[in-house]
């Protein structure tokens, strides 16, 4: 079973040379630590920065330079800064090649819920609705099973939706899936995870064809 860093490592393998990538808060942000050797990507932070660099060293932090998670960060050679309308303009116009974000639920037709639990948690959608409505290439990083043992890869989302028919791929602690024709197609198993464990943890329609390889991370 993968931990958060394991999920982030698998996601980072999807980064290809020349991509502009938006990483959401949480596990997706960790993927920045595992960008493969020789792969050159530019990270977009939707509060208005292209070319997000690493966290600053102590004493170099700048209150005016943060990422979308409100963390202090740095710029890199070639960074650019812009306002929030342009930031979402480049997202809406499809200029950002890959979006990685977290989710509470994903359904077999690619719907995603990640912004609200009625009566309990109301934090807001931030930029997630804009991202999922426009990105061509969305990978969700999430836990497949909640603390109560229930699957979060569902037939239909039970929580208020963030977007519809938009998620293309999902990486969880158990596996790597592609969403196609209303089903989760299993592409890879997490190290040491059996097909049976994956079947038990998937409520939505699951397609398993042929030998399913174990992830290399």
């Amino acid at each position: 079973m993968l931990d958060k860093n394991g999920i982030a490592k698998r996601i980072a393998k999807e980064f290809k040379n020349g991509m502009y990538v938006n990483l959401g808060i949480g596990i997706p942000t960790l993927a920045a630590n595992y960008i493969p050797e020789g792969v050159d990507v530019v990270l977009q932070s939707e509060n208005g920065l292209l070319g997000m660099g690493p966290f600053p060293f102590e004493g170099e932090e700048d209150a005016d330079l943060i990422n979308a998670g409100k963390q202090t960060i740095t710029t890199l050679p070639g960074s650019s800064i812009f306002d929030s309308a342009m930031s979402f303009g480049m997202i809406r116009a499809g200029k950002v090649d890959l979006t990685v974000l977290g989710a509470m639920e994903v359904s077999e037709n690619g719907d995603i819920a990640n912004w609200k639990i009625p009566g309990k948690m109301v934090k807001g959608m931030g930029g997630a609705m804009d991202l999922v409505a426009s990105a061509k290439n969305i990978i969700v990083a999430m836990q497949q099973v909640n603390k109560a043992g229930q699957s979060k890869l569902l037939k239909t989302c039970s929580l208020p939706l963030t977007g519809v028919h938009c998620v293309k791929r999902v990486v969880t602690e158990l596996g790597f899936y592609q969403i196609e024709n209303g089903a989760f197609r299993l592409l890879e198993r997490a190290p040491g995870i059996s097909i049976d464990e994956i079947k038990k943890a998937t409520e939505g329609k699951l397609i398993i064809e042929g030998e399913i390889p174990e992830m290399e991370i």
Partner: protein, 231 residues
């Protein structure tokens, strides 16, 4: 043309109960600290506030929430504020959560003189309820209206006496968009200089959008998530 006024207290003195305000900033980054302090001191209430976030418990718009000056909050993300959540769940505070890009673009539309924009954000979700949907080239879009705000209050790094503004780093965020969108726009700056000292090529907000400008003081610039690396 000189738009300089003395301070925040003067800048906000004609903001009336029940008005709609835009407040720039992302989290606590680039918020108009001096004007918020003045609004809290002044005690104006029943405000509708448009801002990406609602501050934290003891800073930013959170200070106005504690004094129950805000009737309605229009924001995209409000996760860092316990008092906000309490007022929301108890029904004291009206809240409209909207996608961040929609928020930014509704400001932009107001400043560009466009009544509405079309965006795919929120299609198929509860954000779409009651809104006109149009299909362009096979994809659905929501019609979202330009904001109509009585005042916009923004924070810039440098400004000149004619109201031209330059922002610093990611403290830019919503500030230039809101600056364009207010019926009256107030700008507080860290450094106010005479007209002519800023390079016209470097101006982010042209002074035509700014009605009042003042030199702020005692900026705290609080950091929400001080995150460091060691190696």
């Amino acid at each position: 043309m000189n738009k300089v006024i003395a301070n925040a207290d003067v800048a906000i003195q004609d903001i009336q109960d029940g008005m709609t305000l835009m407040l720039g900033g992302f989290g606590l980054c680039g918020i108009p600290e001096n004007s918020i302090t003045a609004l809290v001191k002044n005690g104006v209430k029943n405000l509708t506030c448009i801002s990406n976030n609602a501050g934290v418990d003891d800073f930013g718009i959170g200070l106005m929430l504690h004094k129950k000056q805000v009737k309605k909050m229009i924001a995209s993300y409000v996760g860092e504020n316990a008092e906000f959540e309490r007022q929301l769940l108890s029904g004291e505070l009206e809240v409209e959560l909207i996608p961040q890009g929609t928020l930014a673009t509704r400001c932009m539309a107001a400043g560009y003189g466009m009544p509405a924009i079309f965006t795919p954000a929120g299609v198929g979700t509860e954000v779409a309820e009651g809104k006109e949907t149009r299909n362009f080239n096979g994809k659905d879009y929501l019609m979202e209206m330009a904001f109509d705000a009585d005042f916009a209050i923004v924070k810039a790094w440098k400004g000149d006496t004619m109201g031209n503004l330059i922002y610093k780093s990611t403290a830019r965020n919503f500030n230039p968009l809101m600056a364009m969108a207010g019926k009256i726009t107030i700008a507080e700056v860290e450094e106010l200089v005479p007209a002519g000292e800023l390079d016209p090529d470097q101006i982010h907000t042209p002074g035509i959008y700014v009605h009042r400008i003042f030199q702020g003081s005692n900026y705290e610039k609080r950091i929400e998530q001080r995150t460091l690396r060691t190696t």
